[in-house]
Symmetry: C2
Subunit: 318 residues, 2 copies
């Protein structure tokens, strides 16, 4: 028997990891009962969210694990959301998730969840924000959002975080890749991981030089050296994240960031709703079907088709 | 003095690279005159589009250049659309574009254009489709769309192509990265580039094994070895792309693919229009402003806010 939305929300608030996992799955599927349960959660609680991104192979997962161990040692609880590109070949990158689950399975203070980058009609960022809300209700103190890639979807997700950590690795090539990936400008804190490599110094200097060219907004992103596999520099990284948090809270920028991401979430949800409405209507509304057909044949261009559909939907709303 | 839309369209049809570049810029900016010029282009012409993707460092640009030289040697013309993540630090990844422009600047048979991944309200894929239409009108025979990253935005772009080439590099780690990036399932043709490396054989075998697990739809994606810097295997790669084209044309799958991407373009354009409408209305419509404000404060969740906005827009359309 399925729990009612109110029961599910109550179970999450009581600290049930199983209930939280089920609720996040329902929300990913856009299930109405999931939405009802989300609305039954206390709205006032919001966990501090740290997004962690960088090129593949930079050691983001290891860094997230090291941060988790540190925060846990202090007694606080951690939620990890791993944003993984989905592959039908492997059934998603759930493998890493399962390995992690095992590592943290004996620790009720850590909740791990992977989210696929595909199949989110309303975009991945809102789904991540929903998941973070569930984790907050579960009682998690800190949410770490980790991305595998450095594409636009991943960038959208991490920019929805309160503090964004960009992980770079030594070597001019890698530094350039980071730069090319367009993620330089979104970092609040930079970690040069694998800093025991010989060319780490140069990468740190290069990053600092590039960051000097960037607009500051009262905050100069610090560059921290880490060797995640050895746990080196992780305490310094966590301290830098906390300094950034203090800066945001002192300048009221935290609330501004959160407002911006909530507005973005509304626009994404609206896009999803409009798309659903059009596709549902195409099945029985001859005007919608005809406009789509003309566009698919290439007779009508996409923007003109969109204009006609919007006008028609507005008229149909009468 | 600016050319009228009809004049601009005529200049593109007459083969002016400068006019094509201007038109693509206007379309990127969503300029109404650009749209008018796009509509004045002959709708019947559509260039065959090949998307080329893969992890950073796989040698995609070098492969695109090698393919271009080969196609040019046969006398056909080529358009290159390089999808580059934008960075405010570097002013976009236009550097590579400029270097290429110089290489091909003396050849009127090659048109090179980079497009940034940011700032496309309706998504990057429609912008790329528009650019491909402009290139077709310009008289280009083959369009190569190359992506820098392997994120969702880039995957969307290449899946809008007629044939998708996934470029891998030798080494189990790299092969796994390719897999993780979720681009295995979108490839029609696979190139193992840098195939002069010692572990190339293993990568080819691994790829073939993984492709055997994949659904076929009457086409088994071939795996081609290339050394792009030496021009090795490039003719075989081009032959594989042409076999895939012949397969699509024989099975009517080409038109199905194109219809699907045109439908996607309509939905993306519609999303953009709805978003514009909401943001424009927020300035003077107290209901829209209030719903956005409640959502930004976190009192109203994103989906509920989207529902209210959609209902209100439909009523307002009366």
């Amino acid at each position: 028997m399925r729990a009612s939305p109110a029961d599910l929300a109550e179970q999450v608030r009581a600290g049930s990891h199983q209930a939280a996992a089920r609720l996040i799955s329902l929300l990913e599927d856009g299930d109405p009962e999931g939405l009802a349960a989300l609305r039954a959660l206390p709205p006032e609680r919001e966990a501090y969210t740290v997004g962690i991104t960088g090129p593949p192979g930079a050691g983001k997962s290891t860094l997230v694990d090291a941060l988790t161990r540190l925060v846990r040692a202090e007694g606080a609880t951690v939620g990890i959301i791993a944003v993984d590109p989905t592959s039908p070949f492997t059934g998603g990158a759930l493998l890493g998730d399962r390995i992690r689950m095992q590592e943290h399975s004996t620790d009720p203070g850590v909740f791990v969840r992977s989210m696929a980058t595909r199949g989110h009609l309303g975009g991945l960022a809102p789904a991540t924000i929903d998941a973070a809300r569930v984790l907050a209700a579960l009682g998690v103190d800190l949410v770490l959002v980790e991305t595998v890639g450095a594409g636009q979807a991943e960038v959208d997700v991490v920019t929805a975080a309160d503090t964004v950590v960009v992980v770079a690795v030594p070597g001019m090539g890698d530094a350039l890749q980071t730069l090319k990936a367009g993620i330089m400008e979104i970092g609040d804190v930079f970690a040069v991981n694998k800093a025991d490599r010989p060319d780490a110094d140069r990468t740190v200097v290069e990053l600092r030089m590039m960051l000097h060219l960037a607009p500051q907004e009262g905050w100069r992103p610090p560059v921290v050296r880490t060797v995640a596999t050895m746990g080196e520099g992780v305490a310094e990284l966590l301290a830098a994240v906390r300094q950034h948090r203090a800066h945001l809270e002192a300048s009221e920028a935290l609330e501004a960031r959160r407002r911006r991401r909530r507005r973005q979430a509304v626009l994404r949800a609206l896009e999803a709703r409009v798309q659903e409405a059009v596709l549902a209507r195409a099945r029985h509304d001859p005007v919608v079907a005809a406009v789509l057909e003309e566009a698919e044949r290439g007779v009508l261009d996409a923007r003109a088709a969109a204009d006609r559909l919007l006008q028609h939907l507005e008229r149909a709303g009468r």
